[in-house]
Structures are given as C-alpha cells and as structure tokens.
C-alpha cells in the first residue's frame, strides 16, 4: 500500500534534522549564486526551491575522484568499495531518470561493484521542480515528472509537501518523521494538476521533435556544416561533459604514497571533448579534430546510447547549455538546426 503523507514546511525541517542526526544526508544548498549538493549540517540550509545543481547527483555514485583499489607493488591488489549508507535529499525528476540510466550502464555486461554498492546504499528523496533552470527542456524530453526510480517523492503543494513513499528504504525514513496525516484527495488532485503543468510547461527551450526522433535525425546529419562551424568556437574544455548527468567516462590512474610501495588506483571523471581523450601512446589521436569530438558528444547522447540501450542520453536539464562559455552546447538549438536540414 503506497504511503502518501502531507507535511508542513516546519515538519519537513524537523524531519530532515532528525535524519541528519542519524546518518549522512546530502542535500541541495546554495553555492554562490547557484546550487550544489553537499553534506547537510542543518535542515535550514536545504533549498528545495533550487532550479538546478551545478553537478548532478551522479557524483555520489561515481565520485569525481574515486579510489577503486589499494595495491602494493609486490602485486597485491585489494578492492575498495564504499559501505556507508546515505540519503540524497532533493533530486529533480530529470536527474532521477538520469540515475536510472547510469544504473543500467554500470550494471550492463560487467557489473561495476563500485558504482552499484554506492547506489544500493543510497536513499533517494526526489523532489518535484519548483523553479525551472535557465536552460531547461525537461518537458520536451519527458523528464519533467517521474514515476519511479526514487524512494520518496516530495511535491510542494500549498505551504507543505506531499510525501510519496515508494520503497522500503523510503519507509525507513518515515520513522523520523513521526505522525503526519495522509494527503487528502484535494491535495492529491492539486498534485495531479501540478504534474500536468510540469509535463507541458517546464521548458525554456523547445525541441521541435520528439526525443525518440533523434536517432533517425542524426542518422543523416553526420556531415552537417554545423559541426565544423560550432566546433570552431569550442574550447574543448569539457565543461559540457562534466556537468552532464548522463556522462560517465572516466580515466584511471595509479598513485603511490610516500612509502613508494603502496598506493591506490583511482578513477576520475573524464570527458570526450578533451583533446587527448582518444589519443593513444605514440601520439595517434583517433578524434583529433575539434569537430569530431564535438559531434561525438551529440551522437553519443542522441544515437549511440540509444542503439545500445534504447534510451536517449539527455534528460533536458540544460546544465551543459549553461556551463558552456562558448554557448554552443545547447542540445535543443543544435538538434533544431539539424532539423532545418
């Protein structure tokens, strides 16, 4: 039986503080003029009215720099995985969709225990979008609302929140909430209305086709002039990849400590836009030209991953659009241009 409660904002604060007292809670907080996930020390710092975070919640499952094993130069290796449970508070629907996609990537073929152990230990408290990010097109991508992939979903209705609990992990958090009434039919109807609006209006840019049309669209546009034109402005700075919730490329490096005998193997976020991403020893670069890298990113989002797993690897958060100083990363503008032929 699904549990759907309604709580006041004050109750929310008390609840979150109770959770913080019990375990690690990451939540959305203001960072300069933007928002970022960070460990919550006080519920008052939680900003569920955020538009978008600088980095996606992916960083908790695939940390920016992650130790995956320890070694000794005598040839001994030992796997390092995280065992700590944690809660992420305030995940927007498009990021919920992205997380589900990452789950698939890291589970497929060879299961990645590092990602999956973090993922299994996480409780995701999703939160419907109160403010649209400056470049968002989630409604176009069908990610403005979400049906599953989270443990709890919060929706702000009136002065309080509907707390929709979907999993046993979610229920476990309710203990700290104490008594709260079930959401009444009127509130639930208002939530339906909110979702309806979100699905229609949560766009700052309008994609002129359905997301599922993208693979076919790209099929014919490999030589389009836009690739070279835009790439002429591209810094190959990788910002668009770094902020993307569905990018997961990584680099792996060994680092020895001062014993010079022991050390760690770490993986770090990498980016296919960077010049040397496909360069092999000896210097041959399989994607030497800027436009090759620039094009690769859009094809990977709109076609390649679709071919592999039937999902478009773009959830419409608009992060790349904002992050790109050259203003050439906006997927909507790019795909719309391709559509013009």
């Amino acid at each position: 039986m699904p549990i759907v409660k309604y709580i006041t904002t004050d109750q929310l604060l008390v609840w979150v503080n109770a959770l913080i007292a019990a375990q690690t809670v990451y939540g959305v907080q203001a960072k300069e003029q933007r928002f970022a996930y960070d460990a919550l020390a006080d519920a008052a710092d939680l900003r569920l009215d955020f538009d978008v975070t600088i980095l996606p919640p992916k960083k908790f499952f695939q940390p920016l720099v992650e130790t995956i094993m320890k070694f000794h130069v005598d040839g001994h290796y030992e796997s390092v995985t995280s065992e700590e449970p944690f809660i992420i508070f305030g995940v927007h629907p498009y990021d919920v969709v992205a997380i589900a996609q990452m789950d698939e990537v890291f589970r497929a073929n060879y299961a990645d225990t590092h990602y999956l152990s973090r993922r299994e230990r996480a409780t995701i408290v999703a939160c419907d979008i109160q403010n649209a990010s400056p470049s968002m097109f989630a409604a176009c991508m069908g990610t403005a609302t979400v049906e599953d992939g989270f443990d709890i979903l919060l929706t702000k209705i009136g002065d309080g929140y509907v707390v929709d609990v979907r999993t046993a992990k979610g229920e476990a958090l309710l203990v700290a909430l104490g008594d709260a009434p079930d959401a009444d039919a009127g509130t639930l109807a208002r939530r339906e209305q909110f979702w309806d609006d979100a699905r229609r209006f949560l766009n700052k840019y309008l994609l002129k086709c359905k997301p599922t049309d993208l693979p076919a669209l790209l099929e014919d546009q490999y030589e389009h002039a836009i690739w070279e034109h835009n790439a002429g402005l591209c810094y190959s700075c990788g910002s668009c990849n770094m902020v993307c919730p569905t990018c997961y490329c990584f680099d792996v490096q060994d680092e020895v400590d001062w014993t010079l005998e022991k050390g760690t193997r770490v993986r770090k976020w990498d980016s296919c836009m960077l010049r040397d991403f496909a360069t092999v020893a000896g210097g041959h670069n399989f994607r030497r030209r800027r436009e090759e890298r620039y094009r690769h990113r859009f094809y990977r989002k709109g076609q390649y991953l679709w071919q592999r797993m039937g999902q478009i690897a773009c959830v419409g958060c608009g992060r790349c659009t904002t992050a790109c100083t050259a203003k050439i990363a906006n997927p909507v503008e790019l795909y719309n241009t391709l559509m013009e032929g």
Binding site: K31, E32, Q33, R34, A36, I54, L55, L64, V65, G232, L233, C234, Y235, S236, C237, G238, S239, M242, V243, Q253, E255, V256, D257, W258, L260, W269, S271, L274, R275, D276, R290, A323, T325, A326, K327
Partner: protein, 250 residues
C-alpha cells in the same frame, strides 16, 4: 640504491614555490626519507656540486645567471623547472614588454640603474636556456602535484600532467563560472592540474600554468564579444603570465 641527491636553486622569483615545498608539512618529512637534500640555500647551510636532481625556481634575467644555470644543468642528471617563473618566465616576463628597459630601470632605481648587478637582459624561462626534463606548473606550484611528480621520478616513471583546460578542475569544484559574472577567465585555454583555486575564491584564472596544447584563441574572441569584452581585454589578461608563450593558434 643510494638516495638521489637533490639540490634546489633559486633565480629571480618570490620564492613562493620553495615555500610550497615547505608547505608539504609532514609530507616533506616523508620526502626526506627518500632523497638527500644537498643544497637548498633558503633552508640549509650546506652546498654541493654533486647532485642528481636539480630543482630550479625563478626566471633567468642576467647573463651571469644563464652561466650558473648551464653549470647546474651540466651537473644534474634530471632538471626540474619549478613554478611559473621557471616554466614560463612568470610575471617577470612583463618586463620584456617594456619598450626601453633602461627607462624601466631608471624608473625603479634612479641613477643607480647603471650598476653592474642590474645588467639584465630579456627575462627567460628555464627551458629557453637549458633543456628541462620536468615542469611543475603554477604560481605558486601546487604542493600535492609537486609531491606526485617527485614520487613518479623516484619510481622511475613519467608523471601524467593534465593537458586539458582548468574548466575541468573548476567544474569539479562546482565553482560558478566567472563568465557568469561578466569577467574574463583564462580557464578555457589554461592547463589544469591546479584544482582551480582561483575561480573557487571568486577570482578569474589568470593562466599561471600556461596554455593547453592547441588553445582555441579564436573561440575566445567570439566569447569576448558575447560578454562585451574586447580582444585587447583578453590579451591584457593573457599577458600577465603568458607573455613568454608563442602566440597560440586555433
């Protein structure tokens, strides 16, 4: 295997990069278990002409310094350029922009400008005088990176120094982009590895680690226009640390 003998030499600079070596704190003690420091004027009284690794801080400003550097190179098996002054010429290279160096000297030193020790030529990076084996970038250097480079050296392997822009580090730190504040930032064309402390502290990147390979200066021009800045603004920014680098192309 006996410990490699290491000597640290300073030329024209603020000695802030040596300070970062001290700033390794406990790690400096670890480092000392693997090397034998034989000369480090700022920290010890001994000196030596026998060393395996020479670490050079500072830019080369005078003929006598060039000679000294060449001598050091001839004695060292490995030579490391430490910090922007050594790798690029650093802020010191601003002096090369002066039309008339004598005027400059007068402006600073008055009539004493003719003194022999003030006989300076063009400011040079270390690699403009002798071959450099490893560069530790930055103004100042990043102590962690220095430690990493030294450990690679002690292990006999080549360090992996990033060849991608500072924006990568900056995004990892979740700093708000300086361009969003209408400021020109050199991050997109500057080599990462510093951890982008500057944007994180609210300052634009001023390019102290030098350009990445193939920086897209044309792209930068277009961005300047968008933010109502001129290419001159950009050039002036780049001049601070990068006068020494050949004009990059797209």
């Amino acid at each position: 295997m006996s410990k490699p003998r290491v000597a640290i030499f300073d030329f024209a600079c603020c000695e802030g990069c040596q300070l970062q070596i001290v700033n390794m704190e406990e790690e400096l003690l670890d480092l000392l278990t693997h090397i034998e420091p034989v000369e480090w004027r700022e920290a010890m009284s001994e000196s030596s002409e026998r060393y395996d690794i020479a670490i050079i801080e500072g830019s080369i400003t005078r003929q006598q310094d060039e000679e000294r550097l060449k001598l050091i190179r001839s004695r060292a098996k490995v030579l490391i350029a430490l910090g922007a002054c050594a790798t690029l010429g650093g802020v010191n290279k601003l002096a090369n922009g002066f039309d008339d160096l004598n005027e400059v000297k007068k402006c600073v030193y008055g009539d004493a400008a003719r003194m022999p020790h003030l006989l300076t030529g063009q400011v040079k990076a270390v690699s403009e005088v002798v071959p450099v084996d490893y560069s530790v970038h930055g103004c100042p250097i990043n102590a962690e990176e220095f430690g990493y480079v030294i450990r690679c050296l002690l292990r006999g392997t080549t360090p992996v120094i990033p060849n991608f822009p500072v924006c990568v580090d900056c995004k990892m730190r979740e700093s708000t982009c300086r361009f969003e504040y209408g400021e020109i930032c050199l991050g997109p064309i500057t080599r990462a590895g510093c951890g982008a402390p500057c944007p994180a502290a609210g300052m634009w990147c001023f390019g102290c680690r030098g350009y990445v390979d193939e920086p897209n200066i044309n792209g930068a021009r277009d961005v300047m226009e968008r933010y109502r800045k001129t290419v001159d603004d950009l050039k002036s920014r780049m001049a601070l640390f990068n006068t020494g680098q050949e004009q990059p192309h797209a």
